[in-house]
Symmetry: C2
């Protein structure tokens, strides 16, 4: 799929078929995800692919009741949990290098997740990025060590229905020239 078409046609998918995703497809997907850039190539993202129904249900229970993401995760054959290794991205010799402290793993995780969403879409797979859940509870369910944070989740699978694209700001609203507030376009 053409890159521009992929960016323009990707949607957050909230309705999934139960069809499985092949091992080969998953390997191809993560071999693309790993090409994402990261702070000093620290590659602090890790992923848990959850197919076990018991663990999936526990993760779904870490989300607020009534959240439509629950249905999406329940339908899709796999839940992908994105993790971040703490204390590396944005650090040098164990010391944070910027005023963002230990939050560059969030930035790097965002980069990797966009690679994942676009690559999945180009393979006919749907995703929807989820951030609203009890991350500490999810970490316990997945037996994470202390230095690893749960960042986000997405179901992944073949879409059962299209989604609409929510409206975006016009570029005139968020692009400035040389100084904040001076419109570029």
């Amino acid at each position: 799929m053409d890159l521009k078409e992929a960016i323009l046609s990707r949607r957050s998918i909230r309705s999934y078929k139960s069809d499985l995703v092949s091992e080969q497809t998953l390997k191809e997907l993560f071999n693309l995800v790993k090409m994402s850039p990261s702070w000093a190539n620290t590659q602090v993202w890790e992923f848990v692919l959850v197919t076990d129904k018991h663990i999936k249900d526990k993760l779904i229970n870490s989300m607020p009741e009534g959240n439509p993401a629950r249905k999406a995760c329940s339908e899709a054959p796999i839940m992908i949990v994105e993790l971040g290794i703490k204390g590396k991205s944005g650090f040098k010799k164990g010391e944070p290098m910027t005023n963002k402290g230990d939050n560059w793993y969030m930035y790097d995780a965002g980069i990797a997740m966009q690679t994942l969403c676009l690559a999945a879409h180009s393979m006919g797979l749907g995703t929807v990025i989820l951030g609203l859940f009890d991350a500490e509870q999810a970490g316990k369910i997945l037996n994470l060590p202390e230095n690893i944070a749960v960042v986000a989740m997405t179901p992944i699978g073949y879409p059962a229905a299209d989604s609409k694209c929510p409206p975006r700001k016009d570029i005139s609203e968020f692009i400035y020239k040389d100084s904040y507030g001076v419109k570029k376009f």
Copy 2:
């Protein structure tokens, strides 16, 4: 350009021609960037495109001496500064909804920056994401209001030289099955 080819062939570019980037190209680029997903479609990213040499030099001086990024920014015709609106992404009715507090703007900014880097690459443009600079100093240079953070910068322009791709982890090293540490591949 094909999406997979774009993901595989994108490099962090540290050497630029002085050739200008057309207004039409910039518009096309940011009309793709704005399609990036974000927390509840909050779209908290904003961008300042800096071409004024005086302001560009000041921003370059917010980076550590000896940093090779300085040369890249000096050569390229434009520096893009990525901003994040604080207190919105990850919030509901003014309250943070997760244990990440006000750091979801970092995640959303990462998503948008990967869209930017891939789209730029498909148009023949180079980028290199920079996080190592004095963000408070940069914010003053750009006259940012208090609720806006400088997140990252990238020069943008036509590459003067190819870059090598630093090695990546194998997918066997960062993909787990159902529980942390249980290898998937």
